[in-house]
Structure formats: C-alpha cells, structure tokens
C-alpha cells in the first residue's frame, strides 16, 4: 500500500513538473475521483460485512457440524462407558467368586497359570459379549496379576484378555472376525478364534498411559475412576487405538484389574466419515489439546478423504474470530473445536476437544472464486468508468483543441473561433485583440485594412485632374468652405466635384474620406494618393 502511495506521489510530482495535456489532466482527475469512490465503496462493503459473509457462513456450517459431531460422539462414548462399567461390575463379581472359592486374595493369583486360566475362562464370555454389543472394535480385561513374577519387567506385565476385530471395513461387518490379541492361547483354541499375528500372553501396562496408576489406587465404585487413554500404537502392528480404562473394583475397594473397550484409529475413521460440503471435506477429530496444540498423534481422526491430514502430526492452533487455523508442518486446516468431557478422572489433566477440520486450501479456492467474480465485476465497472471519463474528457477538450488548431493555422475570423466555452472564447478574443493591437503598434496593417487602402489608392486613379486638384486641397487640410476661395470656383462646382470624388473613391462622406486620408497619412502612404 505504501508502495502504491509512493507511486501516486511520483505520478503527481511528474504531472506537476510537466505541462500535461488538458485531456490527460482531466482524465487523471476523473480517475482519482473514481478511485476515491471505489475505495469508499469497498470500505462501506467491508464495514457492512459483505466480504466476511463467507467466513460467517463457514462458521455457521462448521459450528452446526461440530455440534452434531459432538452430540454423536458424546452419545457414543457415554454408551461405551456405560457398557464398560457394566462389564466392570460383572467381572468384579466373577473374579470375586473365583477368589472366594479358592479363599485367596488377588495378589495370590500371581505365578498361578492354572488359576489365571480359570479366571480368564470366566472373564472371556463377558469380554466377548461386550465386544459384540458395544459400538467398538475391541474389548479387554486386564487382571492385576502376572503369570511369572520372576521375569524381568513383570512389574508392568499383567495377565488378561484382549479381543479385537480384524476385518474392519466401512460398514459394521455382520460376521466380524475376532482375533485374540492378548491372553492365554488355550482359550483362543478352545473358542476357535485366531491368534493375532502379534499375539502376546500378557499386557504391557506401561503402554497404556494411566493404567498402572489406576491399578494402584483404591476406589469404591468403578465410575469414580474411569478414563480414556490417549491414542497408543499397538506394539508391532500398524494399528493404533484409544482404550477406555474402567477399574474392576472389588467389594473391599481393591482394584482387581482394568477393563473396557477400545476405539481403534481405523474404526473411528469408519465411524466418523468426512462430509463433503461447499467448503471442502470436513474431518471429525477427537484429540487432546495442550499448549495451544491439537495433539492428533494422541487422538482419533475420522475419515480424511479429500485431505492430507496426517494422524501423526500435532497442529498449532491460531484462534480466529470466525474460525481457528490449525497449522500442520506443511498443510493448513481451518475449523472449530469444543471441549468435550469424556473421562471421569483425566490422566495428566488432559483436555479433550472435538474438532472439525477442513483444508484451508479448499476454502481459499472457494472464496477465491467468489472474490474473482467480485474483482471481475469491479474491473469491468472500472474499465467502463475509465472509458466514460476518457470520453467525457475528450468531448470536453475537443472543441478547445479544434479552436486551437484553427488558431494555429491562422484561420481566425471573429466567428469561427467560437468553441462553446465562454472562458476559451474570451481567451481567444483577448488574444485576437492583443494580436491586432500589437500589429498596429508596430505600424503593421491588418491585412484587410491594407487591402482597403490599396483599393482606395487604386480607385483614386479614376479621378480626373480637376477632381484630383480638389482632393489635394482636402489632403492639405482645407475644409470644403475653403475650396471656392482657393480654387476660384463656385461652391456648386465644388459640390459637384465632391460628389464625383466620393463616388469614384467609394466613400459616402467627407468624414470617411478624411478618415482614409488620415489613415493613409499615418501609414505614410499619403504620397501614393497625390
């Protein structure tokens, strides 16, 4: 803008220095006028919000979308939580029963594969039922016990069962394949289900943030301490998942273990499809937010079709008036987010948000197409005004130029100079008068006067000698009355002569004759008359 201002200043300076054509100058005034009006119009439009209409519309669309997604997600997670709490209660009862039969506490289960097998056998149907009834892609139960306490890392290894669906696809499969991710393989063989390719006997609870702490606490009710873990990579697989961790609480308040369901990244992707709208593809995101960053690497992303959203990136948030900007390393997204409460007791005070993200590029293209129409419209209007001002300036200047041209070619007569503009006419007249005076002052005759004189002198030749004699008296300054005395002729003779002289010289009165004589004398041409 500053640059442009400088350009205009330079232009102005240049225009001042040079004598600018009237038309161009007029054009310049017109154009500056147009630009000022344009600026005013644009200012008015932006003040009235015509230009931010898209942003506003975008905000409304995304907000509706966000609210819908949030409602759906809240319902979904609440449902899962309810089912997991139920699972927890049932498992608690089952485990308690087994322990009572044996007359031992949970700690005594350590290093007892037989007992663990029995407990897992008892737990399996509940986990399986939960997997089948809940809207999730995996269910699990971790027991606060391990098969072999003598092993390295046994302090974070816990026995348990983890069942997952393996053939996820867009629709909820009618007969999903259940695979056995964690647990005693004999149960899998007994139930005729496949072992996961990366099966392991026990859970590594260090992989699940917050799980170890949960096992160490003491609670009255499972609902007091459930939480969703951040998204974790399932070791050695390409999948990642979020686990709902619900404590299995014994009647004495000890924690028997943790159970719950999982929502895998792929499952979430299928469950929350993107929506294609006028502004592009909108992606649903459930992720924690920390230090003004949306941690996609720890949350779940819906279907990303139509975008390059990468689940491993963390997005830097720039809050905006109508929408926020979310910056990935090489892509920009825009959208909105809202805080959602999904856990009862958050680990590390994680704040979860639901967000709707769209690629900024699509939005830019969308708004650009609208802006383009604006600009084209403005450009056309501008060109029309430019042409109009050109036409007006031309029309205004044309008669002036025309008169000037005639002036230059010397075709001036009092009438032809008329330009239709009083000032110009006055100027022309003034110039004319001045030119005339100048010529007279310099002794120069206006060309027609000279002609007149020539003609007059020419006519003098037709006078007779007698008449010339009379004329000479006049030239010598005598009055008519003096003539009879001087020439010894009667006044009648004089009059008769006068009549002849006037006729021949083409004058009507003695005054006129005397004017000629006077003028000729002034012009030093009186000799020619004698």
């Amino acid at each position: 803008m500053l640059k442009k201002l400088k350009q205009i200043q330079a232009l102005n300076a240049l225009a001042k220095k040079r004598s600018v054509g009237m038309q161009r100058k007029l054009m310049l005034y017109w154009v500056s006028m147009i630009l000022v009006i344009f600026a005013a119009v644009i200012f008015l439009l932006s003040v009235t919000g015509i230009f931010s209409r898209d942003d506003k519309q975008f905000h409304e669309v995304v907000e509706v979308h966000l609210i819908n997604t949030k409602d759906r997600l809240e319902g979904h997670l609440e449902n899962l939580t309810a089912q997991s709490l139920n699972l927890s209660k049932e498992l608690s009862r089952e485990i308690e029963e087994t322990l009572m039969q044996e007359g031992i506490s949970m700690e005594d289960v350590n290093d007892d594969p037989e007992l663990l097998f029995r407990i897992q056998e008892a737990v399996y149907p509940f986990v399986r039922t939960t997997l089948q009834t809940a809207d999730c892609n995996g269910a699990y139960a971790i027991l606060n016990a391990t098969t072999n306490t003598n092993l390295d890392g046994s302090n974070h290894s816990r026995s348990g069962i983890h069942l997952r669906y393996s053939n996820l696809s867009a629709g909820q499969p009618v007969t999903p394949t259940v695979v056995y991710f964690r647990g005693i393989p004999d149960i899998a063989r007994q139930k005729n289900i496949e072992l996961h390719n990366r099966w392991n006997l026990e859970f590594d609870i260090d992989q699940i943030p917050g799980c170890g702490e949960l096992l160490k606490t003491s609670l009255n009710r499972p609902a007091e301490g459930y939480f969703w873990s951040t998204r974790i990579d399932l070791k050695n697989t390409w999948e990642s998942t979020m686990l709902l961790c619900v404590p299995i609480v014994g009647s004495d308040g000890t924690i028997y273990g943790v159970c719950g369901v999982e929502i895998g990244a792929l499952y979430f992707q299928f469950s929350y499809p993107n929506t294609e709208g006028q502004f592009g593809s909108a992606v649903s995101v459930l992720a924690p937010i920390k230090d003004n960053r949306l941690l996609l690497s720890k949350g779940l992303i819906g279907n990303v079709s139509g975008t390059y959203l990468d689940a491993s990136e963390d997005l830097l948030i720039h809050q905006g008036y109508y929408y926020n900007e979310y910056n990935a390393s090489d892509e920009q997204y825009i959208g909105l987010h809202q805080i959602i409460s999904i856990s009862n007791k958050e680990v590390n005070d994680t704040t979860w948000v639901v967000a709707i993200l769209m690629p900024q590029e699509n939005y830019i293209i969308y708004t650009a197409s609208i802006r383009q129409t604006w600009i084209i419209f403005a450009m056309i209007l501008f060109l029309i005004l430019l042409a109009f001002s050109f036409f007006l300036a031309r029309k205004f200047v044309k008669p002036i130029i025309l008169s000037l041209k005639r002036f230059q070619q010397g075709e001036i007569t009092e009438q032809s100079i008329y330009s239709g503009i009083s000032e110009v006419d006055e100027l022309a007249e003034f110039l004319n008068a001045r030119a005339r005076n100048q010529r007279l002052e310099q002794g120069e005759l206006p060309p027609n006067i000279a002609d007149l004189f020539d003609q007059f002198i020419e006519r003098k030749n037709s006078l007779t000698e007698a008449e010339r004699n009379i004329l000479r008296y006049y030239i010598d300054g005598y009055e008519i009355a003096d003539i009879p005395e001087l020439a010894f002729i009667s006044m009648s003779t004089v009059r008769k002569h006068n009549r002849n002289i006037y006729d021949k010289l083409g004058v009507t009165s003695r005054d006129e004759l005397m004017l000629y004589i006077d003028l000729l004398r002034r012009c030093d041409r009186i000799q020619e008359l004698i």
Partner: protein
Amino acid sequence: MKKIRIIFMITVISFFCAGCSNISKNDEAPITITIWHVYGGQVDSPLNDLIDQFNQTVGKEKHINVQVTSVSNTNTIHELVLASANKEPGAPELPDIFISYPKTVLALPDDSILIDYKDYFSDDELSAFIPVFLEEGIVNGRLVVLPVAKSTEIMFVNKTIFDRFSQSTGVTMDDLNTWEGLYEAAEIYAEWTDAQTPDVFGDAKAMFVHDYYFNYFQVGVESTQGNFFDGNTLAFDPAFEKTWELLARAAIKGGIWLKGGYATESLRTGDSIVSVASSASVLYYSDVVTYPDNTSEDITIVSRPCPVFEEGEKMVMQRGAGFCAVKSTPEKEQASITFLKWLVEPKHNVEFVTKAGYMPVTKEAFENELPEAIKELKSVKYSSLYQAYMDTQRNYKFYVPPQLDSYLDIEMAFEDNVRTQLELGRRYYLANNKASIDKIISDRFDEFKEMMEQ
C-alpha cells in the same frame, strides 16, 4: 507523457494483482481411492508403508490419496467382495482396488465390474511382466488380476529349538527335505517331547504344521503322477491314499499340529517348530516364542524349500494373489491405475516384495533389482527365505491350481475335515493306548472320503 501512462498502468495492474494473487493457486482436492489388501494382516504392513510413500510423493503431485480400508486375508476379502458384489444387506461398499485370486473373480456374479488392465496398460508395459504371472490373472479373456507380488510355499523352521532336538536325537535339517523324512522326524519329536514329562500321558508336542493341508495333498498327488481333481470333485486315486497315509501316521502319533489357525500361531507359542506356509507369511513369524508361563525365548527362523516326496517330482504350489480394480469414474480408475503402475515399477516393487517376503513380478525387477536388494537383507529369516526362493526357482516345477468355480468350497471343506479326522484319529489312538494305528488311519480316510463326497 508515455512514462506517466506506464506508471499509471502499473499502478492499476498492481491493484488488481493484489486481489488476484490467491486465485492462481488453483489446486484440486485429492481423489481418494480405497484399497483392501492382505499384505501385513495385523502387523506393520509393508504395503501401507509404500502407500504412505506414494501418497506423500506421486499422490501429492497428482492429487491422489490411497487409503487402506481393510487389511485382512484373502478368504475374508473373498467373502466381503462377493457379499458386496451381490449387494447383500450389510455388506460394505466395494473398494476401488482389492486383492484377489482368480477364484474370487470367477465367483463374482458379473466380472465386468472389474477393469480390464489391457485397456490401461500398453503392450510394452505388459511385456515387462513375467508371462506366467500375467497368464494367471486372465479370466474369460480379460486381464482382471494384476500380479504385484508372487509367492510360493516355503518351509520355515524354528532353528533354535530344532537344533536342540537335533542334538539329542540325531535328526538333521536335511531329513526335512522329503515328506517321508519330515514325518519320521515329527514322530521322533513327538516321542522326544512326550518323554520329557514322563508323568503326563500323551502330552507329545507337534513338530510340524501345514498352513493348507489341501495344498499338501494337491501338490503331493500331482507330483507323484496322480490326479487330484476329477472334474469338479476330488479323484481319491492311489496316490492320494499314499499321501494320506504318510501324514495321518505322523499326525496320529502326535507329530502334527491340527488345531485351527495359521501356522504362525503355533510357532509363536512354541507348540510346533516346523511349518510349510506361503513364503509371504515370513512377515508374521515372530522371533520370540512365548510359553504358557509367560517366559519368552528368542529364536531364529530359517526358511528352506518345500519338502517333496522321495519318489515324486520336485513340485511346489505357486501362490500370490493380484490386484483387481473396480470400474468407477474415469478419474478414479485413472488414479487406481496410476497407483498400481507405480507399485509395479521395479524399484518400488522390489522394496515392497522383499519386505513382505514375495517375489517381484517384472523381469527387470527380478534380474536387476532383486539380487541387489537381497544383498542388503540383514535378517537370517529373510536372507534364508530368498535363498530358498532361488533354490525353489531353480529346481522346482511350479504347480498352479486349476480355476474351478467350486475350488474355494472344496478347499474349506477339505481343510476342516482333514484336521477333524486326524484329530479324531489321534484321540482314538491315545484312547486305544497307542495300538492298531493302521486301522485308525484307514478308518479316518474312509470317513474323510465320505465327508468330502457328501
């Protein structure tokens, strides 16, 4: 005066340019194509890595985004494809690209929903492929299955435990070269493991597991001058009986793993130590065995060529499915083809197959890229696999199963029945206090035959 005009024009133009600058960047939204494949199952998928690579490079350039929507096995995909092609309620929508054997295409109600690759690949491009691989993908005269990676059956051995077994019994790795030798070793292994816990009766451990007994029988019968198929049914000729007898004896004595699941599972839990499976399953073999007491042992897996019959021909099953592309919009079809062409470029193809345990599909990849790539392989599991590949390729004849409509049904019934009958045999054998084994073998065979002929 001219200067003023120029400056004026520049000013006006710069006004407009300021407004237009964003328009010039007129990118399109990416075309997303979906894919179902089998490479990787539940572990880190080498194809997914390659797809990421594609999306980040060529995909970004050409606005194509390939999305994996299912990684599973061919049978599951077969079911899903048929369900969605038949528009069964609850069936998912067909992806743009899926992995399939010709058998899936044959079972489709209408195979014209698939792209004929001849429409998209020039003759030059097609001639770069190894001809046998292409031929397998031609169904009803149309090239609908594009080979991307081919495999064969390979024997995997848990060398760590086998060496231990070998030291105490004298059975060597070379004994595993023939089926006869292998089954004998399996019987010895069963006795050896049974003897380790004398107080527990019949807790022998199986040495061997075959991924597809159906394949074992098919190749076995064909390699010993028999006929496995008789039209659309099984022939059950004498060669079959001999193949049965050998397997059944070892199985009933406890040397063969008969429970369900893939061969990799029992090797993972130490329940078996030798397997014959698709070379591609190398990806799923873990280098750790975890025992029921949660103790783990690091092991070495080595690959060897598939065993053969002493009197038979050296023959092995040719495996490996290909990609089918589903017809849709021209843009999507073109995007699918762009991805597939990228994937079969020798460089990417070899990068993919060596990670997944397959063979590349183009001549150039086989001749130039593969040997270089093999040199780079660090893991014994993989280097021995490619050693075995070369060995197999040099000495074996590849067996390609016939294209039968009923192939898959027969295969599934066969697999179930073999395992059930042999398991029953084992139980009778133990119940009979390890007596009258020959009778059990022939009884089970008759039963099996009856089940299959139903």
